[in-house]
């Protein structure tokens, strides 16, 4: 048999296998198309994921470093400690405004010292290089260590957000002149300071543990307090939604009789899962704040709202996980004389645990990322400017949540806040990643073969 001639029939008289079949070709073609389509979808998805992660990292990573100016500051005793006994409670009487002239003088001295020309008439304008919070930082360090008074000490002074942005490449000469605060002359001074090695950019721990700051101090804003708010809310959700949701799922799946009433409950739970979260927000406002008189902006209320939102999302997968436990295990338990309760809690529930946990963790992650309902109950971003006093206060003292804080920053005019918003998203994603890893670990622990 040669390669060029294809026989129509095999030796036994059947249609030859070597003969191409038009219909089969068509079937094969559609298979190839579908494979390519699927591969294309996966590649597109990956492409966008890469873009997403790259842009988040590119925009957000600068928030994790902050610029400081290393300047020697003279701390005269006659100004800072008039009593003269280095007693912090007396020294507290000197406010931040008392420290501000010291910093201005220190800047002028440094310029003179390093042979940099002082371009401004007013020292106050030169001091715009520094953050409004720089004086407060010096004051805190002096109060912590009163012996510094009377000496000249090198301080790392927080630079203003524009200067920080200039070193990070966010601000340039054209854009800085559009603002009201700094001019390109400031940037010349900044360049000169950098040449002298007085500029340091270092890891910004305050961004992760700090509180939100007012509109004109973006360089001081941090996610720490909002992160605590999120944490307290999640505690409320874990304490309420998980036991209630799992118990409801067990009751409905294992104990409830099949009748119209339970059907109605089932339909309602499924529908609740599809209700927009903002509806839960306004429900929380009406029920918890206006009716039950719980405090506004409190993580307790936020946690309650998120509990309502999470319940259907916990119940539905938990029921599915319970339903997926093979009936043979139930029969084995019942056949040996286990009560229904023993069957559920000793056999069915342990086997359903991985599935239940998956649902719980997905719903917790979703609750963690929820913004809209929190805005309605007053957990807006700028509230998160004070730490709670202790554990219990954390539930009731006004606070925000991480996503609401990010939203707040994204609304503010200063691009420095925009950078912080991206940084906040990185913190949120790392938080989520940690929760997801925990989920995987827990699942592995509970997973059993049968």
């Amino acid at each position: 048999m040669s390669d060029t001639t294809v026989p129509l029939e095999s030796q036994t008289g059947h249609r030859s296998l070597l003969l191409p079949d038009e219909k089969l070709k068509k079937r094969r073609r559609s298979e190839t198309w579908f494979k390519m389509l699927g591969l294309g979808a996966v590649i597109t998805g990956l492409f966008f994921l890469v873009i997403l992660i790259a842009s988040i990292v590119y925009n957000g990573v600068p928030a994790f470093t902050q610029t400081y100016l290393t300047i020697p500051v003279t701390l005269p005793a006659e100004k800072l400690d008039k009593v003269g006994n280095r007693n912090p409670s007396d020294m507290r009487k000197v406010s931040t405004f008392g420290y501000k002239p010291l910093l201005e003088q220190a800047l002028i001295d440094t310029l003179a010292d390093r042979g940099i020309e002082m371009p401004f008439d007013d020292a106050g304008i030169l001091a715009d290089l520094l953050s409004d919070g720089a004086a407060a930082g010096v004051r805190r360090q002096v109060l912590d260590n009163p012996d510094l008074v009377g000496q000249t000490v090198e301080f790392d002074l927080l630079a203003s957000s524009r200067i920080d942005g200039y070193y990070k490449g966010r601000v340039d000469r054209a854009s800085v002149n559009r603002g009201m605060v700094l001019t390109s002359v400031h940037l010349d001074v900044a360049d000169a300071l950098k040449e002298e090695g007085l500029v340091e950019r270092r890891f910004n721990l305050d961004f992760i543990i700090g509180a939100d700051a007012s509109d004109n101090r973006p360089e001081q804003a941090g996610v720490g307090v909002a992160l605590l708010g999120s944490l307290f809310m999640i505690l409320v959700v874990v304490a309420l939604a998980v036991p209630i949701g799992v118990a409801a799922a067990i009751y409905l799946e294992e104990f409830a009789p099949q009748n119209r009433f339970t059907d109605l409950i089932e339909v309602n739970i499924s529908n609740l899962a599809a209700v927009p979260s903002i509806v839960f927000g306004i429900l929380g406002l009406a029920a918890f704040i206006q009716f039950a008189n719980l405090p506004q902006s409190a993580p307790l209320v936020g946690g309650l709202v998120l509990t309502l939102m999470s319940l259907p999302q916990i119940i539905i997968p938990a029921r599915a996980a319970l339903k997926a436990v093979p009936p043979s295990i139930r029969q084995a338990a019942l056949g040996i004389g286990a009560s229904r309760n023993q069957m559920v809690f000793q056999h069915v529930l342990p086997l359903a645990m991985p599935g239940i946990l998956t649902g719980v963790i997905i719903s917790l992650a979703q609750a963690l990322g929820e913004t809209a309902p929190l805005l309605l109950i007053g957990m807006v971003g700028y509230i998160a400017s004070n730490y709670p006093d202790g554990f219990l206060d954390g539930f009731v003292s006004p606070n925000s949540a991480l996503p609401a804080q990010i939203y707040e920053w994204s609304k503010r005019a200063d691009p420095a806040f925009y950078e912080r918003a991206w940084g906040g998203i990185i913190v949120l994603l790392v938080f989520m990643l940690a929760v997801n890893i925990l989920a995987v670990v827990l699942r592995r622990r509970f997973e059993r073969r049968w």
Binding site: Q331, A332, G335, I336, A338, R448, W450
Partner: protein, 273 residues
């Protein structure tokens, strides 16, 4: 422990014999079972002897498994199932309102079609029943029960070195014997077996059949099987079910050699089923 349980059961069945004047372990009287509107079991009367293997045979869907499940009230777990008539265990109606099916199932153990060990260790599988029923006071008593039960299920030699390993890691035949050991461990009086060999290979089947013959010395065994050869091999009494009715019931030898009913004969000879 083993021997004590044995004599307990003998003395119990003797006293029952005196009071009831019969050695029927189970007596069913005009039992009907409905699944919703489906009439699955029609007016079945049967007396099942103690220390005997009784086989229920019949074509698929004839109701033999349904009837078996009435004997330990496993049908209770199906919402739409309804049982009418009387089923007496040692003269007591098991469908009496005062009877808790959990208590009943401790006395009427069950082995299922598909081996269904718990995903726990071999030891815990066997010990589960005695634990929940509070049959033992301490660990060594429990150890004794586990060993005795595994021995009865002819599994001790294979399992004694791997008691801590998962029961689901055993072969199918071993798993089924583990399920038998688990059922035996609660020290029941009756063992119900719902096609216990249908998921097993011929060698495992032979082992289980041999085991069933040994279990007869201590238990009243009722086995549902779709294999006539199996019924002939292991049982002393056979009941033939067809379309929800019990057509014929008697000594296995008689059912297979000289059936009275035409339908039984047709089934035995392979014309229906």
């Amino acid at each position: 422990m083993d021997a004590m349980a044995h004599t307990d059961q003998i003395s119990m069945s003797q006293s029952e014999t005196l009071t009831e004047a019969s050695d029927n372990k189970i007596a069913a009287r005009s039992v009907d079972v409905f699944y919703g509107k489906n009439h699955a079991i029609k007016n079945v009367d049967v007396d099942i002897d103690d220390k005997t293997v009784t086989a229920f045979i019949g074509p698929s869907g004839c109701g033999k498994s349904t009837f078996l499940r009435c004997l330990n009230r496993m049908n209770d777990t199906i919402d739409i199932a309804r049982v009418e008539g009387d089923i007496l265990l040692d003269g007591e109606d098991i469908y009496d309102k005062r009877v808790d099916p959990v208590q009943l199932r401790a006395r009427v153990g069950m082995v299922f079609q598909k081996p269904n060990p718990f995903p726990k260790s071999i030891y815990d599988n066997v010990a589960y029943g005695p634990r929940i029923h509070g049959l033992t006071r301490n660990k060594s008593e429990l150890d004794d029960i586990v060993e005795a039960s595994l021995r009865r299920a002819a599994l001790w030699d294979e399992a004694k070195d791997r008691l801590k390993e998962s029961g689901t890691g055993m072969s199918g035949g071993q798993q089924q014997r583990l399920c038998i050991a688990r059922a035996v461990a609660t020290q029941p009086e009756v063992l119900l077996m719902d096609e216990p060999c249908s998921a097993l290979d011929p060698i495992a089947t032979a082992q289980i059949e041999e085991l069933i013959d040994e279990l007869r010395q201590n238990f009243c065994v009722v086995i549902v099987t779709h294999s006539m050869q199996q019924a002939a091999r292991v049982s002393q009494k056979t009941a033939f079910f067809h379309l929800g009715e019990m057509v014929e019931y008697g000594d296995t030898e008689k059912i297979f050699n000289s059936p009275e009913d035409k339908r039984t004969e047709s089934y035995i000879t392979g014309r229906i089923g």
